[in-house]
Subunit: 111 residues, 4 copies
């Protein structure tokens, strides 16, 4: 993960793209890539979506879009000085408190 | 990163939420969280967005939204059997080939 | 539709919000609202989503989110000088040419 | 607007695409198109975004993406039995109450 952050940063700096990489712009780029990812699933049934990686074409596209989303998320977090994994772990602990196992089990109310 | 994947998985399994966690649904949840993240930046100037973490309120919200985005991205990748960091690194190498440093430097054409 | 455009414009001008309503910012606001809309559907089965308006709570939220999306789309089109309905009709004609009825019927390839 | 709704519906029915047009899927398609729209603005400065329609290439792409967004929003509203313009007007009246002119004027707090 640290290696990924460093490589994404080097990629941007070598191309002198820091000027474009404001948090605002990176959030937009992230949203654009998530739009491409969601488009891969929009007409699939839930069952088809679960099997998407067994289709070489669609599976390859999904993998590539996930890579793009991760790149921009990593870059956004780096520019903001946020540790991606640590922040996710903290948020997960919050969620564990808000959705205690016994009440939340199997419920569609929120997950 | 492996620890995060395992914890997010355990969080879902303890609550019996695997039934809701199809790739289709998780892609939607990811898009919903990215929508909340982008909303934090929508009225900010590029300069204000660069300073967002120095505002305790806005900075805290941005950090929390990034955590949520990372949780759903981690869960989606896990459900699909995709290694998030490896896939991002592969995609970054593709991009390095498509945007050679000399031609891409400082260019707004694509970044 | 013209009335809606005029009212959304007046709403912004009365509050002196034109300064925030650049196309870039409005596209972000639109994406944020679409994120809230998609969150209403993320854990529903396709069947549940088809019945969402018969649930007063969820139906009311969906209606309100659609209203928000339409407001920002109307404002974005107005700021850009784009006629929303005319542009959609033109795009629909393009799609009719690209997806001739006989070949496209019932196909999941693209819709 | 009624004409657009009718034509979008006919377009779907002629191709037997109603089976794919659940509200869940249409919300995803809408999000995908908004992702393409936002990608047009992601690297532009606010000033460049304001001038985007004077660039024939970028302006044409923005117009086409707005058309796509409007088509899916119209289709989603039709499938849900929601009147798009009426719902937006109702929501605008709510917003007028929540953001009274005198307090809201020029404020970046929310718009």
């Amino acid at each position: 993960m640290d290696d990924l952050t460093a490589r994404v940063r080097a990629f941007a700096e070598e191309r002198d793209w820091q000027q474009f990489h404001t948090p605002k712009n990176l959030a937009m780029a992230l949203a654009g890539e998530v739009g491409e990812l969601i488009a891969e699933f929009q007409w699939l049934t839930p069952e088809q979506s679960a099997a998407v990686m067994s289709d070489p074409d669609a599976g390859g596209r999904v993998r590539a879009e996930i890579g793009d989303v991760m790149i921009y998320l990593t870059r956004l977090a780096d520019v903001l000085g946020v540790d991606l994994v640590e922040t996710a772990l903290t948020k997960l602990e919050d969620s564990a408190r808000r959705y205690p196992i016994e009440q939340a089990r199997g419920s569609a109310a929120k997950r």
